[in-house]
């Protein structure tokens, strides 16, 4: 791996000052002059004006007709910085979800695109609702026409849920641990199963090594669960989302794991 083992001075120049970041964020939305920026941000006139001149001197912004515009490249830099900022936010916001959990089976691409999960919601069980995570997923799955899932363990209700989706003429595609493959398959009603497999509505792949990842993709929603570092599945937390970016993120992850099955 070749990483330029140093944070570029330009990154430091921008990241060092929240005021500069704020100014860029405003100018990125709309070109403006110092007075306008002061009004929008409530930052002191002198700070705005001194940072504006630093930004101009370092070629991040240009003055055109009395207003400052960000240069095209600055937009790219700024977007990248904000993308990083959002990744920090996601790590912090869902700290209990990531912390001390096994991320080995996430693809490097899914980690790089972690900000796609920005609009997710963390569902945690509570003492009065200890099945909250399972029930949330169940509700999503039962009315779905298309289910893709990675099951590292067998929940007793899964066979029935799968039957339900198939009865409604939906399709189910599963990646499961080798150890539960047979159990799961044979608990699904024989007739329904055989018919669905014939019609291509049910596909089940057996994953050779251990699965450390729980993922369901139902029509428009996705949910993600992780294993703890001690090797047990964390039944108390899932990340769910119904926005398009997360959905696509989940699909890419599903495809990534599926490729490993085929190899």
């Amino acid at each position: 791996m070749t990483i330029n083992n140093d944070i570029n001075n330009d990154i430091k120049f921008l990241a060092k000052s929240e005021i500069r970041l704020k100014i860029l964020s405003e100018l990125n939305k709309k070109p403006d002059n110092v007075r306008g920026l002061v009004k929008k941000t409530n930052i002191a006139y002198s700070s705005v004006s001194s940072n504006i001149s630093k930004l101009e001197k370092n070629n991040y912004i240009t003055k055109v007709k009395n207003k400052y515009h960000v240069n095209p490249m600055t937009q790219v830099y700024f977007k990248n910085l904000m993308d990083f900022k959002n990744s920090v936010k996601i790590v912090n916001d869902y700290d209990s979800f990531w912390n001390k959990h096994n991320l080995n089976q996430l693809s490097i691409n899914s980690v790089k695109r972690i900000t796609d999960l920005k609009n997710s919601q963390l569902i945690e069980t509570t003492p009065i609702d200890i099945y909250k995570t399972h029930n949330t997923i169940k509700k999503q799955m039962i009315k779905s026409k298309k289910v893709q899932a990675i099951f590292p363990y067998l929940h007793p209700e899964y066979p029935e849920l799968i039957e339900q989706v198939l009865i409604n003429d939906g399709s189910v595609e599963l990646i499961v641990s080798k150890s539960i493959f047979k159990e799961l398959i044979f608990r699904v009603n024989d007739n329904i199963r055989k018919k669905a497999i014939k019609k291509g509505k049910l596909k089940v792949y057996s994953f050779k090594s251990d699965l450390n990842l729980y993922l369901t993709i139902c029509d428009k929603t996705m949910s993600l669960g992780l294993f703890k570092n001690d090797g047990s599945f964390d039944q108390n937390r899932i990340l769910i989302s119904n926005d398009q970016k997360s959905f696509k993120w989940a699909q890419e992850l599903f495809n990534h794991i599926q490729k490993q099955v085929k190899q």
């Binding site: 977007k79 990744s87 790590v91």
Partner: protein, 265 residues
């Protein structure tokens, strides 16, 4: 609001970014451990800093739960791994942009949607071929040489250029190229239709599939199985035929495909 309130608000808005990115020590430590878990001795050698400095940095990172010590080795926690991967992405992006700063800065980027612009680090192995005063068509000739070897081409064509068409037709009439997908807008297609030869050789050619989109096209993008090229317009609206970006790795080709798909939508 008082000055301290504003400061606090700003700190919250950009929290985390500053802490990680402005300390060379902290970021270097994270990157060193991103490669593999390391012990103090290895870190000291890699960073060329005394133990005390390194231990201090390690302590800070341990406190905010980005790294942990397992036996004698320091390694990233899951949070640290998420964060460092994204920091490395940021640095790689930055490196790629810097390398090509002049190219990107002097061109109109409005034809590249935000999400895709964010990924231009995928182009980090790209080369930039410029025409020079002694060879005014260097960029163009390099391009023609590339397309003449392709078996499959997908092109977003934002310009009507008979010179380009002439060479495309020549390649189409050869044996190598099996399929050409052209993405153009109505204006271009009308112009092609007015020229009998182009209409016959391009639009009616069985190897050619033309997709007409109702969009302003601001990029000249070509993708094959083995390369991608990109030329852009200047900010003043003129097409720049003197600079071409060429990349031959899968990441760059993937980036190009994403961009092309975006136009087809």
């Amino acid at each position: 609001m008082t000055a301290t309130d504003i400061k606090k608000e700003l700190n919250e808005e950009f929290s985390g970014v500053k802490y990680i990115l402005t300390s060379g020590m902290r970021s270097k430590l994270l990157i060193a451990m991103y490669e593999s878990p390391k012990n103090l001795d290895e870190l000291r050698k890699e960073l060329k800093k005394p133990s005390a400095t390194i231990l201090h940095g390690l302590k800070e990172l341990e406190t905010i739960n980005l790294i942990k010590k397992v036996q004698k080795y320091y390694e990233l926690t899951s949070n640290g791994f998420l964060l460092t991967t994204n920091m490395v992405k940021l640095i790689e992006n930055w490196y790629a942009i810097n390398k090509s700063k002049i190219y990107w800065n002097s061109h109109d980027l409005s034809g590249i949607p935000d999400g895709i612009l964010n990924d231009i680090y995928l182009l980090k192995n790209a080369e930039y071929v410029n025409s020079t005063t002694s060879d005014l068509s260097n960029a163009f000739n390099t391009y023609i040489k590339l397309i003449s070897k392709a078996t499959k081409l997908k092109i977003i064509l934002p310009i009507y250029s008979e010179n380009h068409f002439k060479h495309l037709i020549k390649v189409l009439n050869g044996n190598k190229l099996k399929k050409l997908e052209l993405i153009v807008n109505e204006e271009i297609i009308e112009s092609i239709n007015e020229n009998i030869v182009l209409k016959k050789e391009l639009l009616m050619n069985k190897k050619v599939n033309v997709k007409c989109v109702n969009k302003k096209l601001k990029v000249f993008l070509t993708i094959s199985d083995t390369f991608m090229t990109l030329t852009l317009f200047f900010n003043d609206g003129h097409y720049d035929d003197s600079q071409i970006l060429i990349a031959k790795d899968q990441n760059a080709i993937k980036w190009g495909k994403t961009l092309a798909n975006n136009y087809k939508k």
